[in-house]
């Protein structure tokens, strides 16, 4: 009896120690700069292997047939904050297998806020627009529709609502030049082309810089050279997402790209004691999003039919992407 008790106790203590050790010590493996960079590039390739418009599209590797992804992006400019959510979604069966060719739906939504001059936080909403495209939820119909909603503020600050619809399939919508600007590859393009020299991993510059692996997660914290940022602007004409960046964090999970956060640190005391990191840019990628449904009132008279919706230049989406 006594032996049994002792065995029990020893087992319990052994298990506790194993868990504690595994949890708090052994599972975080540091990575050197080159390995971290290689991991990042491999992860970007794997992530984009599912995007048919991406440079690394590999139909063999892709389980999503070149379509399915979802992301949330937030860009903080000097006078505006823009949040973009894109969700290209398909059905899955009871065993969680994706059925890419059935019921493909797209949800694209973008909203813009002003920046509060006092707090530096979000100000009032300037406007938003969104598309939902996919099979019309009517058992008798095989039609696919595109619904568009827009809320734009005029000069007086009052909101003007626009609700339109047209015939279009999700596949066709994804194939448009307009949507290509919102594809996953468009969001990861800059990262994919970044050379190793552009990254700063030196712990002397910032003690948080470095990379580690934690089971299925790889976390990379780094800085970006000013030279790269200037070169990027000169060669592409676009502003880098790292412009003004103090440090950035990238998370890779299961070998794929997951999140990037770009921070700009503002000092509250003029020195370095009270530093407030401000999120300048963030991108959170998932490889299957939430179910998409048509907007409320889609079957009422609220929405007006407009077959040439994507060609109109007076709508918010056109202005936003021009």
């Amino acid at each position: 009896m006594k032996t049994k008790k002792i065995v029990c106790l020893i087992c319990a203590i052994a298990v506790i120690c194993t868990i504690a050790t595994a949890a708090f010590a052994g599972c975080n493996t540091p990575m050197d700069a080159q390995t971290a960079y290689d991991e990042l590039m491999a992860a970007l390739d794997l992530s984009l292997s599912g995007d048919m418009y991406g440079p690394a599209y590999d139909p063999e590797k892709s389980v999503t047939n070149g379509y399915i992804f979802a992301y949330k992006e937030s860009v903080r400019g000097t006078d505006m904050i823009t949040n973009t959510n894109v969700n290209v979604h398909c059905d899955q069966d009871a065993s969680y297998n994706l059925h890419v060719d059935e019921d493909l739906m797209v949800d694209l939504y973008q909203e813009t806020y002003g920046v509060n001059s006092v707090t530096g936080g979000a100000g009032s909403k300037i406007g938003d627009f969104g598309f939902i495209v996919g099979p019309y939820p009517d058992a008798d119909s095989t039609a696919e529709r595109m619904y568009y909603t827009e809320r734009a503020s005029d000069k007086s600050g009052a909101y003007v609502n626009t609700s339109l619809w047209g015939d279009m399939s999700a596949e066709d919508f994804v194939a448009t030049d307009f949507f290509r600007k919102y594809s996953l590859s468009s969001r990861l393009e800059e990262l994919r082309n970044m050379p190793f020299d552009a990254f700063v991993f030196d712990k002397d510059v910032n003690s948080d810089f470095g990379a580690y692996r934690q089971i299925n997660l790889v976390k990379i914290t780094f800085g970006v050279t000013q030279e790269y940022i200037d070169n990027y602007k000169a060669t592409t004409g676009k502003t880098s997402i790292f412009d003004g960046c103090t440090y950035a964090e990238i998370e890779l999970t299961f070998g794929r790209f997951s999140n990037i956060y770009v921070y700009q640190t503002e000092s509250l005391d003029g020195g370095s004691f009270f530093d407030l990191p401000q999120e300048k840019y963030s991108l959170q990628v998932t490889y299957l999003g939430k179910n998409v449904a048509f907007p409320g009132g889609h079957d009422s008279d609220t929405y007006k039919k407009d077959e040439n919706l994507l060609e109109r230049t007076d709508l918010a989406f056109a202005r936003a992407t021009l």
Binding site: K5, F24, Y113, N259, L288
Partner: protein, 903 residues
């Protein structure tokens, strides 16, 4: 057969009808005024219940603001990293230690005209709701991560500071709503039945309505569905504030306080407390699977309607489980239920893991596991109470609240272990963006890991309970030992009651009978039981076969005619059944006898022989040496206790101990391996003696040091010496009765001053007081055998007489209550008849008319009251009589109307 069934159904229906009639009459007649012997009218019970609904609804809203890695609002909707949530939780846990003390101090010192607890129901609800509303309406969609983090931290901490005040105010109100324990438990049962209606409704509808607002990962669900529920809750909780009263009755008994350190040491010295506490440290792992049900429906099927319905069905499991726990506890015993619960947890979590792809099957196992898990809601308080008794037996201190304080020792473990699940979440891709859970590849890998961790947690939770051996028999003996102590002291103080004597002596006699009983051969008893069972099964089979044969021969629709042979088989079957039952009872009793003997040896024998142990002998010698000095001379009298008290020679004691241990081992060996010799235990006993000697020397040294501290403190606190008996003075101030508010206020000041002085006295003279107590306990040690045991016959007769008197009194009270109900019924009927009569006459009905009607028709209504008075016990009969009288009254009314019309 069918007629018997029908008859029984009818009897049952009549009983239900009568009970319902009684309840309705009781409720309506005591709606505004409590019944005799009670304090709370039913209107107040309803107010308390509605208040409970409100409290429940606000807590539901606040539940979404509670820090934790599984919080859907903070994590999935707002997007705070699990690790960051855990960091916040750690800070909150540490802050909570301070806030807990502050809250306790605030509540203990609250004394308003609304009471001690009710004000917090009124003043805390609205601010908490306002904070929650502000929080959910913050523009999270445009906030940076650091802003979100700050907002979540500030609001969650603010809520966690105030929420316990609001939450405990309601439960504490329940404990002071009535001074009668019986009435209080009745009120709590009724109110919990009523207010549990609220969660049943919102748990069903919130997920369904959340479909309209984007599900639980959309902030709009919280803004437009959850928040209104909380706000409604604030309004409903005012029912409890305005509609209830606090009826605190100050205790006349003076209870000495247990110091925090002393109490904690007492708790920490108890093995059972440690086993239960260590087991709870693994709950964080075991509970890892709890989020998965939500994830399946929120991120997997995304079917909120099914989620709502299933959540409601899940809540039924808790209710059923609470109902079933007493049966399980009786069937399995203490250790059995702990093992049963934890082993089944492992089994069902494994089943969930195996079938996660089939949501309904997963739900079935979750439901069963919830049922099993909820058993602890009832058995935990029961087992905790037993552990408290065990601590009291061991240390002589009664600890209640100190149990929670002592548990703070586990705070570092709780904080550290809290980081484990966030670590796992992050390692499996769940960092900031909970939308990754829509992706089945991420969700499923987390699913496997969390289920596996839950199984591991359940196994770790289970491990300590293999060492838990506080059985019901042991607890019974602990209670008996405590009764001896109490009776010995009560005999000295003159507080011994006849019932106490009767109960104690009967328990003692039972204990003696069990101690002296010879243990039968358990194996033999088991074989006998098995053999009896086999015979019974054969008899049963033969009977059934023959019955079936006869049944086949009998035409359909006719009953089987019992032949002589069938009757004989039936007789044999019943005999064998009884024989099996007897054999089973004998086997169970033999097993229980073994447990009883173990318990007696562990708890009663040491209790009777405790003054013979070296430790108690030294303690007694030290106490005598200390109390030999007068309290006022302590300052001026130095004592070197090591010179006065010597450590006794332990050679003889060690030899006896070795013999005892050897005998015990031999007995155990004889049972398992007959013929094998037990080893010599002399070396072991000598080692123990050496350890004991060392600890006794340490005790003497420690006591000498404590004496010096006592000298210094008494010099500091009482430079002029002790002026009077501070304890007695404090007790006297507590016993003063006050009638007016001013008197109460003045008396409170006097009590506080006396308490301050007494506290100083008990701090300075702690060692002296303890020494006096040791000597008193020693002097009282034989009170039971010398005085109480011989008093049994006399006290038993006196106790029976008191019981008879109380029974008669209760019967008379019941009769009076029945008569009161009958009177109210009659009054109501007269009023109804009078109203009808007034209507038929076209006359205005008022009090004057009623009085006239009553006086004119007095003779018509005299009989029912008399009947109720004469036969108050026959309440059911009264209901029947009422019907008869109704009919009579109707006839008489018709006659009256006729005669009035003639007039």
């Amino acid at each position: 057969m069918a007629s018997t069934f029908k008859r029984k159904i009818n009897e049952g229906l009549t009983q239900v009808k009568n009970a319902a009639s009684f309840i309705i009459t009781d409720v309506t007649s005591h709606w505004n005024k409590p019944g005799k012997g009670n304090y709370v009218p039913y209107k107040e019970v309803l107010n308390y219940s509605i208040g409970g609904m409100g409290q429940n609804m606000l807590i539901y809203l606040l539940g979404y603001m509670a820090l934790g890695v599984t919080n859907t609002l903070f994590a999935s909707t707002i997007g705070i990293r699990p690790m960051h949530l855990q960091n916040m939780l750690t800070v909150q846990t540490i802050l909570n230690i301070v806030f807990q003390i502050i809250r306790g101090k605030i509540v203990d010192n609250t004394n308003t005209r609304w009471g001690r607890f009710r004000p917090y129901l009124a003043i805390m609800g609205a601010p908490l709701a306002i904070i929650s509303v502000i929080f959910v309406f913050l523009p999270f969609e445009s906030m940076s991560y650091s802003d979100k983090y700050t907002a979540v931290f500030v609001f969650a901490i603010a809520i966690s500071i105030g929420q316990p005040l609001y939450q405990t105010a309601y439960t504490n109100l329940g404990s002071v709503i009535s001074p009668s324990t019986a009435e209080r438990s009745k009120i709590l049962a009724i109110s919990s039945l009523i207010y549990s209606f609220a969660p049943t409704v919102y748990q069903l509808f919130v997920p369904i309505f959340s479909n309209l607002t984007g599900g639980f990962t959309d902030i709009r669900t919280y803004k437009y569905i959850v928040v209104p529920i909380g706000i409604l809750g604030v309004f409903l909780s005012f029912f409890a504030f305005f509609g209830c009263k606090e009826r605190i009755v100050s205790s006349k008994h003076f209870v000495k306080k247990v110091s925090i350190v002393g109490g904690c040491v007492a708790v920490w010295s108890n093995k059972y407390w440690w086993l239960r506490t260590i087991s709870t440290w693994f709950s964080f792992l075991e509970g890892a699977y709890l989020v998965l049900f939500g994830w399946i429906y929120i991120y997997g099927t995304q079917d909120m309607n099914a989620y709502g319905i299933l959540q409601t069905i899940l809540s039924i499991a808790s209710g059923l489980s609470m109902f079933a726990t007493p049966f399980f506890l009786k069937w399995l015993g203490n250790k059995g239920i702990l093992l049963f619960h934890n082993i089944l947890n492992i089994v069902f979590i494994a089943c969930m893991l195996a079938c996660y792809e089939i949501p309904l099957l997963y739900f079935l196992f979750l439901w069963i596991n919830t049922f099993i898990n909820q058993l602890q809601l009832v058995y935990n308080p029961v087992l905790n109470a037993e552990v408290k008794d065990s601590i009291q037996w061991q240390s002589g201190k009664r600890v209640d609240y100190m149990l929670e304080v002592a548990a703070l020792i586990g705070t570092p473990v709780t904080i550290l272990s809290g980081y484990f699940l966030p670590f796992i979440y992050e390692s499996y891709g769940l960092t900031v963006n909970y939308d990754v859970l829509y992706d089945p590849s991420v969700r499923n890998s987390l699913f496997y890991m969390l289920c596996a961790l839950s199984i591991l947690g359940a196994a770790l939770n289970l491990a300590p309970y293999f060492l838990y051996n506080l059985s019901r028999e042991k607890h019974a003996m602990i209670v008996l030992a405590l009764k001896f102590r109490a009776a010995n002291t009560d005999y000295r103080t003159g507080d011994l009651t006849p019932h106490q004597v009767k109960d104690l002596v009967e328990s003692y006699n039972y204990m003696v009978s069990r101690r002296d009983a010879e243990v039968p051969d358990i194996k033999e008893k088991k074989e006998e039981m098995k053999a009896a069972k086999a015979v019974y099964k054969t008899a049963s089979k033969e009977y059934e076969q023959y019955y079936e044969l006869l049944e086949k021969k009998t035409p359909k629709g006719q009953e089987v005619v019992k032949t002589a042979e069938l009757l004989e088989l039936e007789e044999i079957f019943h005999q064998q059944k009884q024989a099996y039952k007897d054999a089973r009872a004998a086997y169970k009793d033999a097993c229980k006898l073994v447990r009883d003997k173990d318990a007696i040896e562990e708890f009663i024998a040491p209790e009777f022989g405790k003054w013979d142990t070296p430790k108690m002998q030294v303690k007694l010698a030290l106490s005598r040496a200390i109390t030999a000095v007068d309290k006022n001379d302590v300052v001026s009298t130095p004592l070197d206790l090591s010179q006065i008290v010597a450590v006794p020679d332990l050679t003889q004691w060690a030899a006896e101990l070795a013999d005892q241990k050897r005998a015990k081992k031999q007995a155990a060996l004889d049972k398992r391996h007959p013929g094998k010799e037990a080893p010599d235990m002399t070396a072991w006993a000598q080692r123990k003696a050496a350890r004991t000697e060392k600890s006794l020397r340490a005790l003497i040294k420690r006591t000498t040091l404590r004496y010096k501290i006592m000298q210094r403190l008494s010099k500091l606190f009482f430079p002029k010496g002790l002026e009077y008996d501070y304890e007695e003075a404090y007790k006297k101030t507590l016993d003063v009765q006050c009638t007016t508010k001013e008197e109460k206020k003045a008396q409170n000041k006097i009590i506080k001053a006396a308490q301050r002085k007494y506290n100083r006295f008990s701090t300075a003279y702690k060692l002296y007081i303890e020494s006096e107590q040791v000597i008193l306990d020693y002097n009282d040690r034989n009170n039971f055998f010398d005085f109480i045991l011989p008093m049994y016959d006399e006290c038993a007769a006196e106790a029976d007489r008191i019981d008879r008197e109380e029974e008669e009194k209760a019967r008379a009270e019941k009769a009076a209550k029945d008569a009161e109900i009958a009177e109210i019924k009659l009054e109501r009927r007269i009023r109804k008849d009078a109203k009808q009569y007034a209507k038929s006459q076209g006359v205005k009905f008022d009090d004057e008319f009623l009085a006239r009607y009553k006086s004119e028709n007095a003779e018509l209504y005299t009989e029912p009251t008399t009947a109720a008075d004469e036969n108050p016990d026959a309440l059911n009969g009264a209901a029947v009589a009422d019907d008869v009288k109704d009919a009579e009254t109707d006839n008489q009314n018709t006659d009256k109307e006729g005669s009035d019309n003639e007039n």
